[in-house]
Each structure stands twice: as C-alpha cells, then as structure tokens.
C-alpha cells in the first residue's frame, strides 16, 4: 500500500523523533519521487519532528545527545528536500545572528538554539564561538538581521553581552535589533539589567522568544 502525503509527514516526523537519519533521508527521497511537496514535507514532517523532540527535551525525556541525533535526522532529510522547494514557497525569513561571546568556547547550547531556530524557519547566521561583541553588531547590520542572539556559559564573559547592547546604543541602532541572551549563568534579571530584549533558559524557549519578538503568530 502506498503512502499518502500525510503518512509521509508522520513518518518523517517519527524518523526525526526516533533519531533515524537514514530513514529520514530515504523517506525524503520517496517524498520527492512520489511528487509530493517538499516544503510541506519539511514543515509538517521534519520540523514537526524537531518540535516534538524539543518538547521531549523540555520534559527531560531527551537530553543533549538525543536532541543532536534528532537534528542529524532532520538535516539528513532537509538535504534531500531543500533543492526541491518551489521558489514561491520560500517565504521571507526572519534573520538571526547567533554566537558565543568572546572568551568562551563552549558552544553546545548555542548549537542547540541554532538547530531549533532553523527547524522553526528562521535564517540563522552562526558566527561561532569566542566572538568579540563588535562582530555581532557588524554582522547584524550587514545582513539586516532582526535578532541578535548571544550565548555564554561562563560568568566571566557575561560582560560581553552588555557590550553588545552598549555598542548598539552608541551607534543609535538599538531599536533596529532585538537582542536575546541565554546560557548557564544568565537570568531574566541580568537580561533586563543590561537592556537585552529577552532571555531564554533553553533552546525550545529561544524559539518561542524569537517568534514573539518578531511577531510571528504561533
């Protein structure tokens, strides 16, 4: 019995949740071969699966290794499906510049945020780790970003977050960008104190925060 489009969506979603990258890739090939819509398969299959994985992560059923495996499955499917997206379906995406503040080379959390944002349809420019504050501003201006996302795991580098907000204020462009921050030592109070627009304690929350700040209907 052949799969309906909905079957494919469900199976793709399951492959992501079950961390099966080979299955996600072969199902995606079948989607293309069957003539079903690639964008829908991403949105209702792969992204849906990643959203479910995010819920399991928040519920502490899944932890970082599991979430990373899920994202591998998502990207395996995405690699197959992306070239088949019809151009008129490529909606205007909100852009986020993301990175870990200078002095800190821990980027596990930042990578998770990137994965969750990408799977939710944001365009993420990942500067990487150990990034000087000025670089965030430079990149955000260059690409016309909507959001600047800053991560740190170390109390020693929290001042760099404040520096990013201060640079934006100095240049009188603070209102052009929303600054969101997160990471081990960060708290909502700290975000408020330095003038950031939002804080999230985890990757799934970062997606909700980014959607909120961009006015995306959830």
């Amino acid at each position: 019995m052949s799969n309906t489009e909905n079957d494919f969506h469900q199976k793709l979603s399951d492959a992501v949740v079950n961390m099966e990258d080979a299955a996600a890739a072969s199902l995606s090939q079948e989607v293309v071969a069957s003539g079903f819509d690639a964008y829908e398969a991403i949105d209702k299959g792969l992204a849906k699966g990643m959203e479910r994985a995010g819920v399991l992560f928040e519920e502490e059923e899944y932890f970082i290794p599991e979430l990373l495996m899920c994202s591998d499955a998502m990207y395996a499917g995405l690699d197959v499906l992306k070239p088949h997206i019809k151009t008129d379906e490529q909606a205007q995406k909100y852009k986020i510049v993301l990175g870990v503040i200078e002095g800190d080379t821990h980027d596990i959390g930042k990578n998770l945020v990137k994965i969750m944002l990408e799977s939710s349809g944001f365009e993420v420019v990942d500067l990487g780790r150990d990034i000087p504050p000025a670089k965030f501003v430079e990149k955000a201006v260059e690409i016309g970003a909507d959001i600047i996302g800053l991560s740190t795991l170390m109390t020693t580098t929290m001042d760099g977050m404040r520096a990013v907000v201060d640079i934006l204020k100095e240049k009188n462009i603070k209102e052009k960008f929303k600054v969101i921050i997160g990471g081990g030592p960060i708290s909502p109070a700290f975000a408020k104190k330095i003038g950031a627009d939002g804080y999230s304690g985890n990757a799934a929350g970062a997606v909700r925060l980014a959607r909120d700040l961009c006015g995306v209907v959830q």
């Binding site: 961390m19 932890f63 970082i64 290794p65 599991e66 990373l68 800190d104 795991l153 020693t156 030592p185």
Partner: protein, 340 residues
C-alpha cells in the same frame, strides 16, 4: 582558634572528623582565583605562568597569600590534558583563561591512541608537576591541590564536542574506548602530580552534567569514568574532590555512587538540602561567583556565613571565578568563613 593547620583541617573533613570551622578553599584549575587584582600587584602573571613552573608556583602562592583561601591550587586552566592529547590551545591573556582553539579529532573513531608514558613528558605536564613540588616545599601546612579536567570534559576537548555527545549514543563502544584511554592518562598524570607534592586532587568535569547528559548517560559514562579515575588516584591514598557543574536535578540520585572524598557543586544546588538528603556526603561549595564578581563585600560576607551555618563541609566558590572579581569580595568571603 587556628590551632590546626589548613592541611590538617581539610584532611579532617575528608576523614569525617571534628573540626573547629570549615576550611575555605579555591581548588585551582577550572576554579582558580588568579584574579587580575592579584596578578597586577605581584607581577606574576598569566598567560606566562601557564608555561613556567616557578612562575606557576609563585602565582599560586600569591593567590594563597592575598585571597585567604587555605590551599595552593594548580594549574590555572583546563587545557593541560587536551594539549597533550593533541588539541590546539589558545593560551588566552592576563584576564582571559586558556581555551581549546580546535579539537584534534572529528569523532571517537579518529582518536589516535598514544603511549601514556610518552605523553607525560609532553606539553605542560612537567611544569605543573614541578610547580606542585615547589609549593609543597614552601609551606607544608598548606594543602597543594592538583587539578584535573574530568574524563568527559577532556574527551570533549579532544573530540568535536557535538560529535562526542552524539557518539555517546551512536557509538557506545568507541566512546567507552576513548574514555578508558583518557582516564588511564588522567590517572597517570595525577600520580605524577602526587609524587611531585600534590596532597589533594580536584576534578572538574563541566561537560559531565545531568543537564547535558541526562540521567542515563550520566550514570553510564560520567559515574563510571569518574569512579575509575577516583579509584586510580585513591590507590595513592590521596583524597579526591569531584566538582559537578549545573543543577543536579535528575542525576542527584547518583551522587552517592561517586566515590570521591567530597562533592563540590554549583550555586544552583541547595547544599543544605543535599546534606539533609545524603548525610554521609562530604559537601563542598558553593558561593555564587556572580556575587563574587558583582556583589558587595557585605553581601558576600552574609552568604559565606550562611554556608558556615548550614554546616557545609568545605566552603568554596561555586564555579569558575571571573578574573575581574574584586579582591575585597574574595577577602570578605574567606574572612567571614574564618570568623565563623
């Protein structure tokens, strides 16, 4: 009433004997107190001291003298191990600690297994060992704490951390093999430090948290290899402290399984409650490093006295200190503990 030496006081805690007041220490390594204020006043500075045994010892002595922490602690980074295992290190600056520039291997299957005795002659190992020797001859009453980067964190500093974490699920055999190798190396390195004069070994393993690994993998990997390490070091009779980063949450149930002489925790953990739940546990911690950097001496003092009142066994910072923490705050911390 300082009739017993700092070393004796600390060892009495490990042996669960009575003491006049808790020791206040800052072990070194991930949690070192080489703050800019101290380095600028003495001229014994980082990053130079990472590479020079005499300078490393001098800086450890400066920290002891200026801050009031009751130990010598070396080294001042978490990169000695990864460097020897092959990763590229950025040695940082006066106010920024060394970090891994590039992990050497893409995943566990790529790891080259080198001869451990050869590795012990490489990198900065002999500098750290020698610094321990200098310190042990400076003041025999002060414990010399040699610091290790724990097994999971060391492995994740040598293998790309994302791939390493995935490998814990995808390639269990390969992951166990790497961790076995890493721990064998860590034990040998610790033994050298102990022969050189280190009297306590402290292990910081910031990647081995419940928040990152979850309970199942924390048990399978973190508990297994921390214990292998603790047992290997324990053969020398030297006490071991294990520091666990982040909230204990889902892995609290495994804390008693870790067979170190003390467990140090992050500021998120309520040590008083942890002590109530596990009365046999020797607890260490956990004054907020955020407070040490941004708080006022009076606030620090209140919090320090609270830890004493809660009968935390060894008082220490909760996490890595910012190099811009003020000396006044740190002094308020150590003095408040000493006054009780």
């Amino acid at each position: 009433m300082d009739s017993i030496s700092p070393k004796e006081r600390l060892f009495r805690v490990f042996d669960k004997k009575s003491i006049d007041r808790p020791p206040v220490v800052c072990p070194g390594g991930m949690m070192n107190a080489a703050i800019v204020d101290v380095m600028n006043s003495t001229g014994h500075t980082l990053p130079e001291a990472h590479h020079d045994d005499r300078l490393m010892a001098a800086l450890a002595e400066d920290v002891y003298t200026h801050t009031g922490f009751e130990n010598f602690g070396i080294p001042f980074c978490m990169t000695v191990e990864a460097e020897v295992l092959g990763s590229e290190i950025n040695f940082g600056t006066l106010n920024c600690e060394p970090k891994i520039q590039t992990e050497r291997f893409a995943d566990a299957s790529q790891v080259e297994y080198k001869d451990i005795n050869q590795m012990l002659k490489q990198g900065r190992i002999s500098n750290v060992v020698q610094a321990g020797w200098h310190l042990s001859h400076k003041n025999a009453d002060v414990p010399v704490i040699g610091n290790l980067t724990g097994p999971i964190s060391t492995a994740a500093s040598v293998i790309d951390p994302m791939n390493f974490l995935k490998g814990l699920r995808k390639d269990r055999e390969g992951s166990h093999k790497v961790l076995d190798y890493v721990v064998d190396f860590l034990i040998a390195y610790a033994q050298l430090m102990i022969e050189g004069g280190a009297t306590v070994i402290s292990v910081g393993d910031p990647t081995a948290t419940g928040e990152i690994l979850g309970p199942k993998m924390f048990k399978e990997y973190a508990v297994t290899y921390l214990n292998k390490l603790v047992e290997g070091i324990g053969k020398t009779g030297t006490p071991v402290i294990v520091h666990i980063c982040g909230d204990l949450g889902s892995v609290k149930q495994y804390i008693l399984e870790i067979r170190s002489q003390a467990i140090s925790t992050d500021a998120k953990v309520n040590l008083r409650e942890l002590k109530e739940e596990y009365p046999s546990l020797v607890t260490m911690g956990n004054l907020s490093t955020y407070m040490l950097e941004f708080g006022k001496p009076e606030q620090v003092s209140v919090q320090a006295k609270r830890l004493v009142e809660q009968k935390i066994d060894i008082i220490a910072p909760a996490c890595g200190l910012s190099t811009s923490s003020s000396l006044d705050n740190i002094k308020a911390f150590t003095q408040s503990v000493k006054e009780g």
